[in-house]
C-alpha cells in the first residue's frame, strides 16, 4: 500500500499560540485514517492546512503524485483530489441542493452552460441516492434541517470523485440510523473504489469501529499513532487527555446548604426534555453528553439565552423569566460562552476594557458618569486574581494567548461576583497551565459559596471540578452521578453507552 496523503512536520502558530508542532501523518490508499484529539488539540487547524485554506508556518502537505505544498490554495487542493466536509458544512444557503452538490461555478467562465441545471439535478439525485437519502434536489438549502444539510455536504464531496475525503466530525448532528448508513457508505467506498478517508470524530467507539489507522493529537503534537487494532477506547482517551491532568479533584461537596438553583421539568422544544435538578450554594455541577445531546441547550436555557417551553428555573426560590437573559444577569447569573472569539471578547479593545465590560453599571453615578478609575481597579483586581500575564493591561486582548484570553473572559464575569456561574466549555483551546489555573479558580469560587454549572465534553475536566455530573442524551437527563471515585473510563461509558441506546 502507498500513502495518498503525506503530512510532513507541519507547524503553525496563531499570534504566539502554538496550534500545531511538527505534526506528521500518512493516509494510505484505500484506508480510513482517524484523527482524534480534544477540542483545541489542533485538529481543525490541521484540517484547514490540508484543505489549503490556511498556510503552514513550517512543513508540507503532499498528495501522491503532486508537489508538496504549504501555502493557501483551496482550489489546488480540490484539484489534487482532496474533498473536505467542514464542521460548519460550508454550504451556500441561498442555492438549491442540486447546485450545492454539483455546482456550475468552479471557474468564473462567461460561457453559458445551458444544461447545467438538469445535469446538476441528475448528478445530485444520483449522489443523494448513493447516500440513501430522499432529499429533493430542487429544495433551497436554507430550508433543510441540519441533518439533511450534512448529507448534502457529504453528497457534494462524493460527486467530486476525490481520492481522499476529509470529514470533520461528520456524525455530530446525525441520528444513530444515519450514522450507521454513513459508516457503511464509507466502508463501501473504501473497499469498492479504494477511496481514502480522513475521519475526525469525538465518538471513540465510532473511531474504533471504522478506522484502519489512528493518529492522536494532544496540544498540537502527535501523542500517539498506529494501526487501529492496537487501540482500545481506554487507550484512546488516555492518549487524548494525558493522564497527568486528571489527578486534581474537587474539594469536598458542601452539605446541608440551601438549594440556590432549582430546575423543575425544564423543556426546550427539540433540544431538552423534562429536566429537573437542584444545585446548592457552593456546589459544582457538571453537564456531560455528546454533541447534540442537549448539553449546550440546557446551559443556555438556564440563563435565559434559550427560551424554555415548559418548566421553571428558580434562583433562591424565585423563578426567572424564561428567555430573558438580562433578567437572569440581574439576578446574579453569569454565563461564559463557548466561543471566546465571537461571543466573549472585544478583540481590538484593551485587556482592561474587556474585563470591565460587564460591570460598567456598578461604577456609574446616578447621573450616568462613569468612574473610570474605580472601573479599572475592579477590572485589574480580577485580572490579577486570575493571573492574566501581560506587560500592560492597555494592550489589545487579541495579543494574548488563548489561555490568557479565556482568563480575561472569566475575569469579566467574576467581576460581577455572580451567585450562579454557568460555564460552557471553559477550557476549549487553552494550554495546560491555564486550564489548571482555571480549574483552581472554579474550586475557589465554589468554596466561597458560588454555585457553578459547567457544560463540557472534556471528561477529565468534569471530574476535576464537579461534585456531580448530569449526563444528558437525546435531550434527557440519563444519570446524575457523584464524581467521588469516578474514573474517566466509567464516565465515558455512561455518556457513550446512552448514545448507543438512543
Amino acid at each position: 500500500m502507498s500513502a495518498v496523503l503525506t503530512v510532513a512536520e507541519v507547524s503553525r502558530s496563531f499570534g504566539g499560540v502554538r496550534a500545531l508542532h511538527n505534526v506528521s501523518l500518512a493516509v494510505e490508499q484505500g484506508a480510513v485514517h482517524c484523527l482524534v484529539g480534544e477540542n483545541g488539540s489542533g485538529k481543525s487547524t490541521l484540517t484547514k492546512i490540508i484543505a489549503g485554506v490556511l498556510s503552514a508556518d513550517a512543513g508540507t502537505v503532499a498528495m501522491a503524485g503532486h508537489e508538496p505544498r504549504s501555502g493557501v490554495n483551496p482550489g489546488l487542493a480540490i484539484r489534487e483530489g482532496i474533498s473536505v466536509i467542514y464542521q460548519d458544512l460550508a454550504l451556500f444557503p441561498n442555492l438549491t441542493v442540486a447546485e450545492n452538490i454539483a455546482p456550475c461555478e468552479r471557474t468564473a467562465s462567461l460561457t453559458p452552460h445551458w444544461r447545467w441545471r438538469s445535469s446538476a439535478k441528475r448528478a445530485a439525485a444520483a449522489a443523494l441516492e448513493e447516500l440513501g437519502s430522499a432529499i429533493s434536489p430542487t429544495t433551497v438549502v436554507e430550508r433543510l434541517p441540519t441533518a439533511e444539510r450534512q448529507l448534502v455536504a457529504i453528497a457534494r464531496a462524493m460527486t467530486r470523485r476525490p481520492r481522499m475525503i476529509l470529514m470533520d466530525e461528520p456524525t455530530a448532528a446525525l441520528t444513530h440510523q444515519e450514522i450507521d448508513r454513513l459508516l457503511a457508505l464509507v466502508r463501501r467506498l473504501r473497499d469498492e473504489h479504494s477511496m481514502s478517508f480522513m475521519f475526525i470524530s469525538h465518538k471513540l467507539n465510532e473511531v474504533l469501529e471504522l478506522a484502519d489507522s489512528v493518529t492522536v493529537l494532544r496540544n498540537g503534537v502527535v501523542a500517539s499513532e498506529g494501526p487501529a487494532a492496537d487501540y482500545t477506547i481506554e487507550r484512546l482517551s488516555n492518549d487524548m487527555t494525558g493522564r497527568t491532568i486528571s489527578s486534581a479533584r474537587p474539594t469536598k461537596a458542601p452539605t446541608g446548604r440551601e438549594p440556590r438553583l432549582t430546575v423543575t421539568g425544564l423543556c426546550v422544544k427539540g433540544a431538552v426534555e423534562d429536566i429537573s435538578f437542584e444545585a446548592a450554594e457552593g456546589e459544582v455541577i457538571g453537564i456531560g453528553g455528546l454533541l447534540g445531546s442537549g448539553r449546550t441547550e440546557l446551559a443556555l436555557s438556564l440563563c435565559g439565552l434559550l427560551k424554555s417551553s415548559e418548566g421553571s428555573v428558580e434562583i433562591d426560590g424565585v423563578a426567572l423569566r424564561p428567555g430573558h437573559f438580562q433578567d437572569a444577569i440581574k439576578r446574579g447569573i453569569a454565563y461564559v460562552p463557548e466561543d471566546r472569539l465571537t461571543e466573549g471578547l472585544f478583540l481590538d479593545r484593551s485587556i482592561r476594557d474587556n474585563a470591565a465590560a460587564a460591570v460598567a453599571s456598578e461604577h456609574t453615578s446616578r447621573l450616568g458618569a462613569l468612574n473610570r478609575s474605580a472601573l479599572h481597579a475592579t477590572a485589574e483586581h480580577w485580572l490579577g486574581q486570575l493571573h492574566v500575564k501581560t506587560p500592560d493591561y492597555n494592550d489589545a486582548v487579541n495579543t494574548l494567548s488563548g489561555g490568557n484570553q479565556q482568563r480575561v473572559v472569566l475575569s469579566k464575569w467574576l467581576a460581577r461576583r455572580p451567585r450562579l456561574l454557568i460555564l460552557n466549555g471553559p477550557t476549549v483551546g487553552v494550554d495546560v497551565g491555564s486550564r489548571h489555573d482555571i480549574h483552581e479558580t472554579i474550586r475557589h469560587l465554589a468554596k466561597d459559596g458560588t454555585t457553578v454549572i459547567i457544560a463540557s465534553d472534556d471528561l477529565p475536566e468534569l471530574l476535576a471540578v464537579a461534585h456531580r455530573v448530569l449526563v444528558l442524551s437525546s435531550g434527557q437527563l440519563r444519570h446524575d452521578i457523584l464524581t467521588g471515585d469516578l474514573t474517566v473510563q466509567a464516565l465515558w461509558e455512561a455518556i457513550s453507552a446512552d448514545s448507543a441506546l438512543s
Binding site: 484543505a51 485554506v53 490554495n73 483551496p74 482550489g75 489546488l76 487542493a77 480540490i78 484539484r79 473536505v84 467542514y86 460550508a90 454550504l91 451556500f92 444557503p93 441561498n94 442555492l95 447546485e99 455546482p103 456550475c104 461555478e105 468552479r106 471557474t107 468564473a108 467562465s109 462567461l110 460561457t111 453559458p112 452552460h113 445551458w114 447545467w116 441545471r117 426546550v268 422544544k269 427539540g270 433540544a271 449546550t296 441547550e297 443556555l300 439565552l305 434559550l306 427560551k307 417551553s309 428567555g323
Partner: protein, 335 residues
C-alpha cells in the same frame, strides 16, 4: 398572517406585482387617460435608463456589495464618449458609441472593484468616495457644458421607434427603440446569472463568502468582473440617456442612485447578498417608473409624489424583515 407573508417569501416579485396591479386599478379609476398608449409608452420610455443601470446594480447586490457610484460612471462615460466622437467627427454606426461608453464605464467599474478588494472597506464607503471622485474629475477635467451637438448617428437613434400609433386627438404615440436595448441587456444578464459559471459564482459568493473561498472560487476575479460589468452597464445607460434628452448633459442622471437602488431592492434583491433576479428587478423598475410618472395623472399633486415614493421604498425594504419574522419559529437561534 403567516400565509400571506409566506407567499411573499416564495415569490419575491409578488409584492411588486400586487403593487403594480393595485396602482393600475387606482390610476385607471382616477383618470382614464392613464391607460391610453401615449402614457403607457411614456412609462416604458422613462424606465429605460433606470432599468439598464438597475441591471448592473443587481449584479453588485447579489455579490453582497453595494454601489452608489454608477450614476457618476454613467455620466462620465457618456460625456467623454460624446467628446471623443465629436472630436474625431465620427459619423459611423451608433454601436461604436455604446462600445466606447461601455469600455470607459467598465474601466471605472474595475477601479471600484480594485479599490474594494484592496481597501477591504464597506463597499458603500468606497463607492461614495469614487462617486465624488468621478464626478469631480469629469466636471473639472472634461467639462461642464451641455453639449447639444451629438455625434451624427445618435440623432436617428433618438428618433427611432418600434411602433407609432396615432392618437385620437391627432398626436402620435411612439415606443422608443431604447426599450429593445433594455430588454436585450436584461436577457443577457438573465443568461449570465442563470446559465454561466460566472453568474452562479456571483450567487455563491453573495450567499456564503467563506464557503466560496473554501470551494476555491476566484472571488477577487468575480468581484472585479461584477463591478466592471456594472460600470459598463452604467456607461451604456449614459449614452441612451444622452440620446433620449438629445444632449450630453453633465448634470443628468446624478441623483437617481436612490431610485435605482430602490427598484432593485423592491424587486427582491437582498442587500446582504445572494438573492435577486432579473425579472424582479425589471418589475421593480417598472413600479418606480410608474410611481414617478403617473402620480400626476392620478390627481396627486406633484409636491406629494416624493412622499409616496418614500413610503413605497420603505415598504419595499421592510419586506425582507417581514419575511424573516414569518419564518422565525425555531427557538434555537444561538448557533
Amino acid at each position: 398572517m403567516k400565509r400571506i407573508l409566506g407567499i411573499a417569501q416564495d415569490a419575491p416579485s409578488s409584492f411588486v406585482l400586487v403593487s403594480i396591479g393595485a396602482l393600475y386599478v387606482a390610476f385607471i379609476a382616477r383618470n382614464s387617460a392613464f391607460i391610453e398608449l401615449p402614457h403607457q409608452f411614456a412609462i416604458l420610455r422613462s424606465s429605460i435608463v433606470i432599468g439598464i443601470m438597475a441591471l448592473g446594480l443587481l449584479l453588485v447586490l447579489i455579490s453582497g456589495g453595494i454601489d452608489v457610484s454608477f450614476t457618476a460612471v454613467a455620466v462620465l462615460s457618456m460625456y467623454s464618449t460624446v467628446q471623443i466622437l465629436n472630436g474625431v467627427d465620427y459619423g459611423g454606426p451608433i454601436v461604436v458609441a455604446f462600445l466606447i461608453a461601455a469600455a470607459i464605464g467598465g474601466l471605472l467599474g474595475l477601479l471600484n472593484g480594485a479599490l474594494i478588494s484592496l481597501l477591504r472597506l464597506p463597499t458603500l464607503i468606497v463607492t461614495l468616495a469614487t462617486l465624488t471622485l468621478f464626478r469631480g474629475f469629469m466636471l473639472f477635467f472634461i467639462g461642464t457644458d451641455r453639449i447639444r451637438e451629438l455625434p451624427a448617428q445618435m440623432k436617428p437613434f433618438a428618433r427611432s421607434t418600434i411602433v407609432s400609433v396615432a392618437t385620437p386627438n391627432g398626436g402620435k404615440a411612439s415606443l422608443h427603440v431604447g426599450i429593445l436595448l433594455l430588454v436585450g441587456l436584461a436577457l443577457a444578464v438573465a443568461v449570465l446569472l442563470r446559465w454561466t459559471p460566472f453568474g452562479r459564482a456571483i450567487y455563491a459568493i453573495g450567499g456564503n463568502r467563506q464557503a466560496a473561498e473554501r470551494a476555491g472560487l476566484p472571488i477577487r476575479r468575480v468581484e472585479l468582473g461584477v463591478y466592471g460589468l456594472a460600470g459598463s452597464m452604467a456607461g451604456i445607460a449614459g449614452v441612451v440617456d444622452a440620446a433620449l434628452i438629445r444632449a450630453a448633459d453633465p448634470f443628468t442622471i446624478v441623483g437617481t442612485e436612490l431610485d435605482v437602488l430602490a427598484a432593485v431592492v423592491i424587486g427582491g434583491a437582498a442587500i446582504t447578498g445572494g438573492r435577486g433576479g432579473v425579472l424582479g428587478t425589471f418589475l421593480g423598475v417598472i413600479l418606480i417608473a410608474l410611481v414617478d410618472s403617473s402620480l400626476v395623472l392620478a390627481g396627486i399633486p406633484t409636491e406629494w409624489q416624493k412622499l409616496f415614493v418614500g413610503l413605497f421604498i420603505l415598504a419595499g425594504v421592510m419586506l425582507p424583515a417581514l419575511r424573516t419574522w414569518s419564518t422565525r419559529t425555531d427557538p434555537r437561534t444561538i448557533e
